[in-house]
């Protein structure tokens, strides 16, 4: 591999990190509250709003069942509205966020549903408001699961980000296709794959480490 490819790879890695980081952040800002609401709003639950729960559940399912590459193309007008352009790394963040938010919402919903109902009852018996229960009981208790869920989301977004080359999103996936496939430079393809493997590995390990720091459920997680 010629030396002038190193900056190209570095550049592409930064673009991928930029897209993934920002879409994770935005996806969590949207998907987090949505997930909490989905986990607490069925009939008889804390924020009981069964009708809204069903509607939001449907929207989330619809968004999640649309293949990502179709989503990217389908929302081009919306992307242009938000980002001012439909082409480029920043523009790619729009579809990535829209794919991430419902995914993260479901992951957070699952984590919160894992919290023992007895804890909600105990908090109600203390005179907690529904919002206090969410802030002081549900989220802290679900934190290890939430972190692992977000880790999964980041790993998936690294994969998705490789597809946004289709709309000029650049990044590692795009580099791999353009150099490795279209210009017959298999060594670039290989380098891209290796970088992606390393990224995913780092994210996964970091996520698990952070989750274990939050997990006080069993003494084994305290490294004794």
């Amino acid at each position: 591999m010629s030396a002038n490819l190193i900056p190209v790879l570095w550049q592409a890695t930064l673009q991928t990190l930029y897209m993934v980081a920002l879409s994770t952040l935005l996806g969590t800002l949207i998907g987090g509250p949505l997930g909490v609401f989905l986990a607490t709003s069925r009939r008889g639950e804390l924020l009981s709003a069964p009708w809204l729960n069903s509607v939001l559940g449907l929207i989330v399912n619809a968004a999640r069942s649309t293949p990502f590459i179709i989503l990217v193309v389908a929302i081009i007008p919306f992307t242009r509205l938000i980002a001012g352009t439909s082409i480029g790394t920043t523009a790619a963040i729009v579809p990535l966020t829209i794919a991430a938010a419902p995914f993260i919402a479901r992951l957070i919903e699952t984590a919160i549903r894992e919290v023992d109902a007895g804890l909600i009852e105990a908090a109600r018996a203390m005179g907690a408001t529904p919002m206090q229960i969410v802030r002081k009981v549900l989220i802290p208790e679900a934190m290890p699961g939430i972190i692992l869920g977000l880790t999964l989301a980041v790993v998936s977004l690294i994969g998705y980000s490789a597809m946004v080359g289709a709309v000029g999103g650049e990044g590692l996936g795009d580099l791999g296709i353009r150099y490795g496939y279209q210009r017959f430079m298999p060594e670039v393809m290989l380098a891209v794959v290796v970088i992606l493997i390393v990224l995913v590995q780092l994210v996964q390990s970091a996520g698990e480490w952070i989750a274990s720091r939050f997990d006080k459920r069993a003494p084994r997680n305290r490294g004794r």
């Binding site: 023992d116 804890l119 018996a125 002081k136």
Partner: protein, 348 residues
């Protein structure tokens, strides 16, 4: 007049079922829980005791009737005033319900945070509570590192944090071994004495009632079948459910090999009647069976028996066999001397 901390006034709870028809969990419950006492509600699982307890802090609401706590109607309270009432009513649970993500001290601080207490005042209050339940050394530990008994102590400290006047206990010792159960019960008794706290507990274990409850209510299929001072209720049990719990507390039961052979009526002139004799108060120490033999020449065969204390008073229960032909005469003799008898069956 003793003041009532909690008063159930004709409380009924129905659960509507899909496809019509209601399940009635509680039926016209009338029960007064005296201020400053430890009152036990005993019943089998599904009897409705858990639903009844949860009415006190509004986790359940009555379908009809009123639940008065410290003079306020819980069932009719708005959300905001219900939250205020809940801060005056602590609750402990069978499975402790501690937050795994919080240390002992942080768990105890939770109700104070919820009540909007000043950070500066939470610290000292938590120190005091941790000491009260004897967990000063464990204050920085997480629940996963504690034994069951220690977890329940945290539960108790947490329930006391906001300075409640009433403590509800939902089978608080049912998940604990007998030794730990005794320690936790002793702690509840201390708290009751020191703080003058009214304690209402539900249990299916007669031993819990025997050890710490001054008052008891027996619940069966959503109805209170007997209630009053523990000793009075258990010295003259009127309802079969009460009697069966009593057998549980003394641990006295008809030995299996006899139970297998027992029939309702005597089969021949040699038949033996199996009788449960309950001794109460001072009679518990009188040798009445010996006198039955000496004075009436009735041969009494003791099959099982025990003497316990309920509310600091001796309480005994024996299961004996005596000739069926002499049954009526013997029962009269024993009853004249203040003993309770119940014919369980006949052998032979």
């Amino acid at each position: 007049m003793t003041e009532q901390a909690i008063s159930f006034q004709g409380v009924t709870r129905r659960y509507p079922q899909k496809g019509g028809g209601d399940v009635v969990a509680l039926h016209e419950i009338r029960l007064d829980v005296p201020q400053g006492a430890i009152t036990g509600i005993i019943g089998r699982s599904g009897a409705g005791k858990s639903t009844l307890l949860r009415m006190v802090n509004g986790l359940e609401r009555p379908s009809s009737g009123k639940v008065m706590v410290n003079g306020r109607d819980v069932g009719a309270a708005s959300d905001a005033s219900l939250r205020r009432i809940r801060r005056e009513v602590g609750m402990i649970f069978q499975h402790f319900n501690l937050l795994a993500s919080r240390t002992v001290a942080e768990n105890i601080a939770l109700p104070l945070e919820i009540a909007g207490e000043d950070r500066a005042r939470i610290g000292p209050r938590v120190v005091e509570l941790v000491e009260r339940v004897g967990l000063t050394a464990q204050a920085g530990r997480y629940p996963a590192e504690l034994s069951g008994g220690q977890k329940q102590r945290v539960g108790i400290a947490r329930a006391l944090a906001t300075g409640p006047r009433v403590l509800l206990s939902d089978e608080a010792t049912s998940a604990l071994d007998p030794d730990t159960t005794r320690q936790v019960l002793a702690l509840l008794q201390d708290i009751n004495r020191d703080l003058g706290l009214t304690i209402l507990l539900i249990t299916h274990e007669m031993a819990v009632v025997r050890d710490i409850c001054s008052h008891v209510a027996v619940i069966e299929a959503g109805r209170i079948v007997e209630a009053g001072e523990t000793y009075a209720v258990f010295s003259k049990p009127a309802h079969p459910t009460t009697r069966s719990f009593l057998t549980g507390v003394t641990g006295v039961a008809v030995p299996q090999f006899i139970a297998d052979r027992m029939r309702d009526a005597p089969q021949d002139s040699q038949a033996q009647a199996v009788v449960q004799v309950t001794f109460v108060g001072s009679h518990a120490t009188d040798p009445m069976l010996a006198r039955l033999t000496a004075e009436r020449r009735v041969t009494v065969n003791i099959l099982a028996g025990a003497i316990e204390e309920i509310g600091d008073k001796p309480f005994g229960s024996l299961i004996v066999a005596l000739p069926a032909a002499r049954l009526d005469e013997s029962r009269r003799f024993l009853q004249e001397h203040g003993l309770l008898t119940e014919v369980l069956g006949h052998v032979g």
